[in-house]
Symmetry: C2
Subunit: 149 residues, 2 copies
């Protein structure tokens, strides 16, 4: 896919735009597009499933570089719950991951909390915390079932 949009992408107009770029970069294994999403702040934090906490843009970048070295990730953000406040957005995402195993294609779930803040350079990610959610049913217990949303 051609990417003539690098500079435009750095000015995501909403947290939804920033999140779309985050998952697009994940699927494409595109480190530069991924790092455009992140705020340039020493305290940004990223936790990959089962991993340690990465603090700061350089540590976050190195972690994604290692992830992408293993190939791109077939990830579908689903069942997003959002809390917005002035200049800040919290998205809780159930990431459906498709993998091919010896027994054929399988899906699994990752639970992710993504936090974005509005900066002078558009909406940027300041935190991504992901943890395993299991292989089968949707890992959620809700006051109101997701299907109604």
């Amino acid at each position: 896919m051609p990417t003539p949009k690098a500079s435009a992408a750095a000015l995501n107009a909403s947290s939804e735009d920033a999140e779309a770029q985050f998952y697009e970069a994940m699927r494409d294994g595109d480190l530069e597009r991924m790092m455009e999403v992140w705020a340039d702040d020493d305290e940004v934090v990223c936790v990959h499933p089962g991993g340690a906490r990465m603090v700061g843009p350089r540590a976050v970048r190195a972690a994604f570089e290692a992830v992408f070295a293993g190939g791109h990730i077939v990830v579908h953000p689903e069942h997003v719950k959002r809390v917005h406040s002035l200049g800040c957005a919290v998205h809780s995402v159930l990431e459906r991951i498709d993998v091919v195993t010896a027994d054929g294609p399988r899906s699994g779930w990752i639970l992710a909390t993504n936090v974005y803040v509005k900066t002078g350079l558009g909406w940027r990610m300041v935190a991504h915390h992901a943890s395993p959610g299991g292989p089968d049913e949707i890992p959620e217990i809700a006051d109101t079932p997701s299907v109604l949303h």
Copy 2:
């Protein structure tokens, strides 16, 4: 400890105050004080280590009730990284948990992302995402080592 501060506590003046109440309620196993910290919003989200996503105040309450039924938790919030924006605060916390095992006392780490927003009723939690961080060394890779902070 006497708790004549229930109504005052509902008006936490900062995200730090709200976080202090969150961990105090965790250590005391105090469900009412815990739920005072949370925003009254259908989309609040809580993930306990290895657990499903709880969405909404009732589901969050039921999950903490189940946790506290197992006894209080000796938890120490450490190495907090903060990103503040107008009306929103993201705290990444390494929770040190003390447990007594057959081999004596042990500590372990939980990685937690806590998000607070400023409401008309003070600073309230809108997201708590916790996942296992391992038993031994601090689960962190940082641009700048934590000890310098």
